[in-house]
Structure formats: C-alpha cells, structure tokens
Symmetry: D3
Subunit: 267 residues, 6 copies
C-alpha cells in the first residue's frame, strides 16, 4: 500500500497520527451537497469538485483531505434552482451546523490546529460560518485557543483575467452559474464520463426579482434546473479554472497557516 | 454517459426522477464512519463496505444507492476500540439522528416509499433506530403514512454455515470483529491495495469486563486498535462474506418491499 | 386615539383582529440587529431603516407592521466588520431561526396569510430562509397550506439608475456598504440627530481576500468599523433611496399578494 | 448628536465602549411581549413600560439600556387572558431562553459585568430564570466568573402604602392586573395618546378555579381580554407607580452593584 | 395478584389496556423533584406528596396514576432555597419540558384522552405549561384534537377556612412554605418515619427583596434550607390538608372530565 | 428516623452532604422504563430490578442510590416487543440523554466523583453512553476532570455457570429474555405479589429476521408481549440471579472506585 494518499480516511491511523499530531499539517474538509445540476450532469457535482480542489491543494501544501460532506443545506431558488426538485436532498440548517461543528472538534482532538473548509455548494456558506463559530466557542470552553480555520468556496478564487477568458460574452455572476459554464467545464475536464452535454438545455440566463418567495415558485426556475446555459463549457475552460483556483487556494493556505516549505510535496 | 449506474448521485435528476417517482424503486442509504481499523487498514472501511453491499444488492433488486454517510457515531471501546484514538472522527448522537432523519424525509419528498439503511458501523445502530422513528413521526404529521424502512447491518446476514467456514477455530462474536477477519477479508477481496496485512498486529482477542467505564480506559483496548487478530483474513473469506450477505440482504428487501420481478436487473 | 397607525402593536387587539382575520392584509416583519456602524452612527441603524421602509410600504399597500426584531445574526467581517466589535450584540443562528419561526406561526394563527420579512441586516439572510422553511413545514403539519412569505432586503431594490446617481465614482458592492453611503444617507434623511458625520472616519474601501478566517482577524477591518467611507452621504441621496426602495417593495407586494386596490391607503 | 442618551443602541460603538469596557456600568435589558391588553390599550404595553422604567433608572444610576425584547413567552390564561387571543404573538419557552442567553453573553463579551433584566410581562419570569442560569453556566465554561445579574418585574416594587392608594377598594393580586389599573394608569401617564379608556370594558375581576386546563377555555377569560376593570385608572396613579417602582429599582441596583456615586447622573 | 391498584405501572399491560383504550379513564402524572427540605425531612417530599394525592384522587374518580417524575426543575431561592444546596438535583428547563411532552404523547397513543398533571414542586410550574402546550401542538399535527389536560399543584386547593385552621397566627404565602408547616404536616401524617421534627431548625420566616440575584446569594436563605419554621406542623394538620386537597382535586377532575358515575370507586 | 437508608432521597440534605462531600462515596443511578412485560408482570419491572440491585450493592460497598429513572427509551421489537404496545411509555432518545446528563452533573456539583449507572432496560444502553459522554464533556468545560462513571446492565454479570443452572435446556440470548425466565424469576423472589405466573402465555422463543422494519410489524412479536416463555421461572432462580449479579456489580465498583474497606457496611 502506498501511503502517498492525501485522503486521511485512506490511511491507517498510525500513519495519520504521525502526520497530524504536532498540529502543523492542515486538514481540508470538502463540503458538498446532493443537488440537481440540470439534465447533463449528475447530482454530486458539489461533492466531486471541492474534493478534487482539496486533493490538488493538499498535494501542493502538504495537507490532508477529510472525507467530504455528501449532503448540504437546502438548494436556494436563485443559486441552485430551489429545494423542490426531485433528487435534491438536503439537510436542515441546524443539522449541517452541528455535523460540521462535531467533525471540526474531532480533528482538533487528534492534534490538528489548521483547518480549511473547502465549500462546493453556495447554500452551505452561512451554516459553515455558524458551525465554525460554535466549534471555536466550545474549543475555547475546553481551553483550546490555538485553532485557525480558513473557510472558502473555490469559485471565489477565479480572478478577473480568467473570467474574461471564460465568459467572453460577459459574466452574470456566480449565483446563476448553477449547472452552467463553471461547473460543467470542470466536470468535462475531470469526469467527462459523467457529463452528457448533448442533454443540456439551452436557455437564457435565469433572472429573478429582487426578493424571494416561499413556498418557492417553480416557474421562476428554468425547467432544466440550470440557471444559465452550459453550452459554452469546455474542458479547456476547466483547465483554466482548475489552475487559477488551485493556485489561489494553495497560496491562501500558505499565507494563513505559515506552512513551512518542508511540508510541501510535488504532485 | 451510461445511465446504468445504481448510484443516485451519479444520475442527472430527470433520470433519477423517472426511477423513483412512483415509489416502487427502493433507495439504500449506506451509513459508515471515519474510524481507526488497526495498523493494516484505512479509516473508511465502514464506508466502503456497506456502500459495496448496497451497490451489489441494488443491482440485484433494481434499487438505487444514496451517497454514503461518511461520518458516524462515536466508537465504543468494546466494538471499535474507543473514541480516544487519533483518526476516529465521530458525530454526537443527536447530530447523526438529525442528519439521517433529514435525508430520509428528502427521499420521501422525491416519491421514494421503500428505504433501506445499510449500516457498516456497529455504533450507529441505535441512533439509526431513533432517526427512523423521528422521520416516520414527522412524515406522519405531514400526512404521509406509506413509508417503509428496513434497517440492517450487513454482518447480521452471515449464517452459521459461513461462520464455521470463516472461523474454523471458533467465533467470538461480532463485537470484537473490529478490524478482524470479517472486515479484513472483505477489504482484501474488494480493495487489496488499501490493506497491508503485514502491518497488522497479532494479538489475543480483546476481553472486557461486563461493564463500561468513562472516560474510557485506553489500556483495555489492544494498542493496535483491532479487537481481534486479522491474520487469518483472506480474500477467499471475503468472497464467502460478499456472497452470503449480498444474497441475504437482497432476499430481505424482496420480501419486505414486494419487489416486482420486472425491477430486478442482472449485474 | 387615532387608529391610523400601521404598527400592529400600537393597536388594541379588536382593531387588529378586524384587519387580519380574513387573511388579506399582509403583515411586514422588520428584522434588524444591534451592530456597530462606525463612529458616526448609532448601533440600531439596521432596526430603524427596515422599520421605516416597512412603515412606508404598509401605508401604501394597506399592510400592517409587526414589532421589529431588535437583535440579529452575528456580524460577518466582510459585510459588518466582524462580531468582535464592542457593542455588536448578536444571536446564534438557531436562536434567530426559532424566534422568526415562532413569530410567523403566531401571525398565521391570527389569520394572516401574507407575510413579508423586511430585512435590514445582511447577515440575517440565510437564517431567515431557514426560519421560513421551518415555519411553512410546521404550518403544513398543522394542515395550513395557504401561507405566502416574501423575503427581501431593502437595498436589493436600488436599481442601476439610482446606483449611478448615488455612486458617481463607481459602486463597489452592497457588502462593503456597511456604515457607508447607503445607510448614512438614509439616516441623514430620517434621523439626522443620530448621525454625526464629522465623526466619521474616511478611509479607502475595505478589501478582503477571497476567503474568511476564524477567529476573525481584526486587522482586516478598518479600525472605524465602517467598510467604506460615508463621507459622500447626503440627505438627498437618502431621498433617492427611500423613493426607489419603497416603490420597489410596494410593487413587489402588490404583485405577489394580489392586493385589492381597496386596501391601499394614501399616506 | 447629544450623547446623553441612556439607550446603548443609540450610541456609536466607541462611545458605548468607553462606558462599558471596565465593567462598572450596568446594562438593563427590558423584556416585553406583543400581547392583547383589552379594548383600550395597544399590544406593546409590556414593551413600553419596562423600557421606560429602565430608562428612568438608568438615568439615576448611570446605567445603559439595551434594546427591548419585543416578543415574549406565551400569554397564560390567569395572568394574560390566554394565548388564543388574536394579536398575542409569543415565543416558545426555549426560544426566549436562548435569545436572552445569547444577548447576555454578548454584553459580557463587551466588558459588562452587571446586568439587570427589567421584565414587563409576567409569563417571561421562569424563562428568564433559566436563561440567566444557562448564560452563567456558559460564561463559567469560558472562565468568566464575575458576572452578576439582577432579575426583576417592575410591579414587585409597589409597596403596601402605594397599593392602598392605588386600590382603595381592595387589591386582588398582580396576576389579574392584566390590562387593569396598574398598566392603564402607567400608560395614561406615559402614552395617553395610546389609551382610549372609553373603549375599556367594565367587568368584575376575573376569577379562576385553582387549576389550569389545556387547551385553554376561552369562556374563563372576560371577553375583553382584561382580567380586571381599568376604569379606576388615572394618570395620577401612574405617577405613584412611576415613582415607587423607579425608586425601588434604582435602590436595588445601587445595593447589588455597589455603584460608585460618580456614576449617577441627575436626569 | 389483586388488580385493585391505581398505579398504572403495577398492572400488566392487558389490564391497563382495558382501562384506558376508550379514553374515559384519566391518567394522573405526579411531578416532583429531588430537593433539600431542611434538616428534618428527606429530599423526595415533592415526589411522595403528589403521588399520594394522585393515588387518593384516582381511587375516588376511577383514574390511574402514572409513575412519578423523580427529578424536577431547579430550586428557586424564594420558593425552594436555591439550587446551590447539596442534594438538590435538578433538570434543565428544556429537559423537563421534553420529558413531560414525550410521556403525555405516549399516554395519548395508548388511548388516554384526559390527563392531569399533579405537581408537587412549585418550580416545575411554567415548564409544565410549556410541555403541555408543545404536546398538544404535536398531537394536533398528528390529527389528534380531543385531548384535555388539567394542570394543578395540590396546595392551590387549600381553602381559606383551612388556612385559618392551619396557620392560626397568620399565613405568609405558599412560596415560603418550603419545608414548613404544609409539607411537614403532610409528611407527619403519611410518612412519620421519614420526619425528625426534633432536627428542624426554628427560624423566622424568610424574607426576600422584590428581585432575584444570580448567582444566588446563599446568605439570603436560612441556613437550614427551610423558608419557614415547621415547628407548628402536626399530623392533624396533615389530615386537614389531605382532606381538603384530595376533595378539591377530585371535584376538579369530575367537573373537567365529565366522569361518569360508573367510573368512581370507593376506596 | 433511622439514617441507615442507602436511598439518597430518603435522607435530609445535611446527612447526604456529609456522605458525599469528599467524593469517596459512589452514587448509583438506576435507569428503568415503563414497558409491557407480558400478561403476568407489571410494567415497572425495569425500575424495580435495577433499584433493588443498586440497593444491595450500595449496602455492600457503602454507596448511595439516587432516585430511579421511571421512564426510558423506546421499546425495541427484538428486545422489548416494540413500542406499539399499550402501556409502554417511552422517551425520545435526546430526552433521555439530556435528563441523565443533567442529573449526573448535579451529583458532581454535590461533590460526588464516582457514579454508576445501573441499567434495567436494554434499550437505554446507547443513550446512556451518549449522556455520559456529554456530561463528562461539559464537566471538562467547567474544569472538573476527576469524575469516573461505571455503566452496566445487571444481566451482564450472570456468569456461564449460572446460565447453565438457569437455562438447563439451553440459553438463547439476553435479548429475548424480555418478560422471560430472568426477569420473572427475580420478580418472583422480590415481588411475588406483583407476578401472576398463571396468566403468563407459553410460547416458543421469538425469532426475528436479521434486520428491523419500521413501522414495526406487530405480527413479529408474540401476542403476549414476552419474547420467551417465563414458565420455567422460579424464586430459586431469582436467588441465583440476585446473588451472582449483586456480587459481580459490587466487585466491579470496588475495583473501579478503589473503595476503602472502611466504607463497606454489613447489611
């Protein structure tokens, strides 16, 4: 068995323990969802993508990757189509908060002091914030005060130059990228067998009024479930995204965790 | 893209919807843990094994497999070594209860009426019971009364004849099989690259007094983390286990869900 | 006593009952916070502003205004400076979710069927989403299926034309408007006695890396607590904002609640 | 802007910080409700009155007043008419407990060490007790052991001499004072525009059997919602009440918090 | 075995089922505490007394008695001395609420429709209110709308005539009766072997300021833990109390539950 | 009054305080249930038996016995017949966890450092585990690190030699002993007046498939509610059980708590 894996759960515990016990090695936790992503993509896109970013970054900075969260918070109409779609399978807010809080505290028990939440599902964002706040509070009660957590969503690392390459006809915002060029390009690059672009439905970008209505109004969401057309997605755009986001995340972790050069591995 | 997958999250939502909307197709939910399994096996054994049983059974009975739960309840000293091991990463009981409750209710929203929890981590058992009880209560409040849930742990389907083949020198109980012949044989058969039997520590089966003590006493658990020696594990024993458990679970689901012959697929 | 008030809590219950019992009259619930807003503004800006928008809209569309929520979710570093500031006084996520859920269900018990959450504090957003989802779920359990809730933040109704008038030198996003031109202009127009613009600290707009860190790093937030300079704020800009947002919200409610003309009052 | 306000939320944070950072200045938190108070009074009586007592006391003892809780615990039949009245808008017990717990802990984070809960709604009482107990427990976990909380309901400071002046025909207990002489006199003195005594319904004092029944029996409560007649209320009685309660509360706080003379301001 | 017991838990289930399945037979649930009651009485007074009242009333009206709650809410300084005493062993408010809610719903599942909470510990009162409210809400969600619950504390049935006999020198209120004449007289009559009146500490009735302080100030409570002297307690006074309270409770239940004469048994 | 009782709640608080304040004296907490036990036994068997074991052990080792938990977790079909039986009255898992957590923490507040949970109801087991884990976590937050808790179910102390005497025709496992020879023999020895063996229903031992189904299938449970026949129960077997379990538990506590000889009392 090669121990070169960065996935913590693929290691026997003594190997893992050696890596984390002094607290230097960061642990990256991918957070996803099971959520419809249109006619052309599977429902675990939000698990596959942050897990892959975490894997690449972990290789570069000498970190480990925890098992991903396979379910996330409820799909919001304006960023995921709405939680009324069949297939979309979500947790209540408090459930996600407690699950992430529990897991963070366990990694700290092992000795980990630097954690990074790698989010792949926009709707998880604020419940991550709350989970980390509560985890740090409880760690503080237990007299552990030296834990640092970086929270990020991978798409926030796409810079303006890349956006211009990816969206030559103009960029309309990350929120309506659900099932669009961003995610589809990455999937075409990483899991082409799971994408059937010919089944994608072409439609104008979704537009919404400046408010939400509950219960959600299905007629506001394009019937396909995507919020913008993925037709312009390509594996080459996937390469651009992989590159800029991986690099950005790796730099962020190096800056925040003060990673000694010795930890970094070449892939 | 081939839609022959049984993994629900690998499907686009319209394909999934076609399968589940009339309620006949069961959904199997694997429940695992991230838990130390000795020096010779990785920490996601309890995720890999129930997911594989679920996959095989789903093929046979025409069911679908949900994304696995990658974290589970706290490791108990007498069945998992204890929750003090580095690497073991667990949820509070209430967190697991709520997560499973949420997910079950979502599948029912999609139209699913027959569910099966395929457990791979002994300590999850009673929190599964509670989760299902609460989910059915809430579904009842929502005037949904026709949901049926089968709950099982795969090792409970090993029959006496198989036990005699697997443990020719005598069987000491499933509880001390943590990291022992059962799990190691299955892993040798399914994921030999993740097992390094040469690193396994040979020791006499763990024995415990007829009570528990908290905080747990690490000296009660063999230092390796396994509760019985895996040295007699073989891929052939893995075949026996795969066969008897898959067959048993498939029969149980056919009996309980009254599956029409038309649903069953050949693998 | 004049019963011309739109504030539900200023009415005796029989007057209130007459208004709401048939379900036509919407109830607007302002949600705020107690949060630092720089050196030049008080800490209840996020209560005063949505309450005033609610009052104006209620007058126009014949609605009622519920007592405001005086405390809200934790201040986030990138949209409110961070929850480490003295004075900022926040609720846990679950507390806010439950409080709003309880209150919504009570208004429905009275007969109300159309509700609008008028948010004045960005960080409340996702906990409002969850509260409404849980409230509708519980109402559904109680066999009440005809409730409709509009959720909005007043600034989302500022249109592009107004933005150009308000920010002639360019607009950098609502998130860094914390304590800036938007809120200060409204306060100058509505509560000039509570603003001391001469105490405002001029500084470049806050910039943040594309990730969050916890515990928050106070050095990322301008020392004043504002995220952009309020120096360009004027009461005239406040008038523009009052006008465009009040009009937008009123139109949204008329559209969503199908308000009969008879309900609308002139102010 | 005059900084002479005692309302914490009316201050910019630097002014507030100066006042509270060394812990000497007490913070008073008014707790109310939205609850029917008969045909002659609005539904926020229980917010207005404790807020005014807090304001007056704060002036005298050099304290600050936090934003009031605008919603409270469920109206009880024998002290508020019952929670079945339209307009009465209440929180679950756990919600109130958590909200007050959160807010108390935040003030302590700012540096406050002396807090006073000024209750205006009888039914809040035991949930205040629980909230303070839980807040002190969590502060203790966080190694903060020097917080002191005074809990009071303003009417408990009415002495025997005042009772004789207020109720020359005999006093029947605070519980049936809901919407009666006590609250109406105070409102006549403080907010005469919000009282229409001519709309009050005269009736004999409510009498109840020595037990409760759930669901509540509406026929036990006078149809008006008041539990005793407010007809004898006068602004002069309001003066007596304002005087005796303000004085009593101020003395209590001076005694418990050992307030240095230097803090006290004249109004 | 004689089935003449009124204690439901002393019956085999088929006997119990016969009694409760049509919903006519009320179930009485005694609620107590483990709480210090001075030097002369044991700590389960609040369990023994309501259980005995429940037993006597059940005999008279043909009801059954559920197992008592052996732990209750936290002792309050002004009615139980304070929760800082050794021996006093209390539940959090939410725990008591949920426990009583669960149990009430279970009795309703059995067929019971008339329930009575017989409280023996003052501090339980408001958490009983909340538990019953939540239980009825959840039963309503489950489409059960015909449950009626009477909530009472036995001492509230002592009438004025009895008070004059029991307290010839004047009565100071039930709150300071903790460990005093009321409870001691009942214990002398029912469990004289558990009372050692010679160990009672004589002291003036406890007096408290009109507010509470947290953490509680032990010096406010008489060192004995009783709030008034039990020295005037006698078994004869116990007879008076047993008689008036049993009669009052029985009449209340007959009135509220419309008990058919056929159900009443002679003792 | 004789203070020779081992029941903590039968003592006045000063006597109790003397015993527990230095932490040496263990406190034993019996946990039971209200659960059907067939046609021949009452529903509080699971309270009576652990309380009696606790009493006997406490006498031997110088411990005290806390009031028993009179309600427990839901009856499971394979070990208690199922929670659908009339009379079975159960708590949700979270309720039991919180109640036991609260009580353990209170005993620690009194000074107790050695606790033993004496379980009489199989289904409580995992919720006890969770309660103790959470209690120790919170005690740790409060900087109390020297608490030790032994958790046991009395039947686990029956040794092989006794099993052969008790079940001369073969032993089928503790799970189907519900209402069978074990419990009935103990009840015949301790409470013969509560057993009517002639009403017991003779039937073959219950057999179940290797999985659970929810909602439970009543037809799987013998109609009597017992899972094996109690007909072979005798008071003599009760003596064997009393002896072996009492002795085993006492030895366990002596070993774990290092009880000084001076504490042991003769009965």
């Amino acid at each position: 068995m090669s121990h070169s894996t960065v996935f913590a759960a693929e290691m026997p515990w003594p190997d893992y323990q050696k890596r984390v016990q002094n607290g230097d090695v960061p642990v990256l936790i991918p957070l996803g969802s099971m959520e419809q992503h249109g006619h052309h993509m599977p429902m675990h896109v939000d698990v596959l993508l942050p897990t892959e970013f975490a894997r690449r970054v972990a290789r570069q900075v000498g970190a480990l990757v925890a098992p991903p969260f396979t379910y996330g918070y409820k799909s919001h109409q304006k960023s995921g189509g709405g939680n009324f779609f069949p297939g979309t399978t979500s947790l209540d807010g408090a459930t996600l908060v407690n699950a992430l809080k529990d897991v963070v505290k366990e990694f700290v028990r092992h000795g980990v002091r630097n954690l990074c939440i790698v989010n792949g599902h926009f709707e998880n964002s604020w419940f991550i914030t709350e989970a980390i706040d509560l985890a740090l509070r409880e760690l503080d009660w237990g007299d552990i005060h030296d834990v640092k957590v970086v929270v990020l969503s991978y798409w926030d690392f796409v810079d303006q130059a890349s956006i211009e390459k990816l969206y030559p006809n103009g960029f309309l915002g990350w929120d309506i990228e659900h099932g669009g060029v961003l995610e589809t390009s990455l999937m075409l690059r990483l899991h082409p067998d799971l994408v059937s672009l010919q089944d994608a439905v072409e439609h104008a970008p979704a537009t919404f009024p400046p408010y939400d209505v509950y219960p959600a109004k299905p007629e506001w969401t394009p019937a396909s479930g995507t919020l913008s057309s993925p037709k312009e997605a390509t594996a080459e755009k996937g390469d651009i995204l992989l590159d800029v986001c991986t690099r950005g995340i790796a730099e962020a972790l190096k800056a925040e965790f003060g990673l000694p050069a010795a930890l970094a591995k070449t892939n």
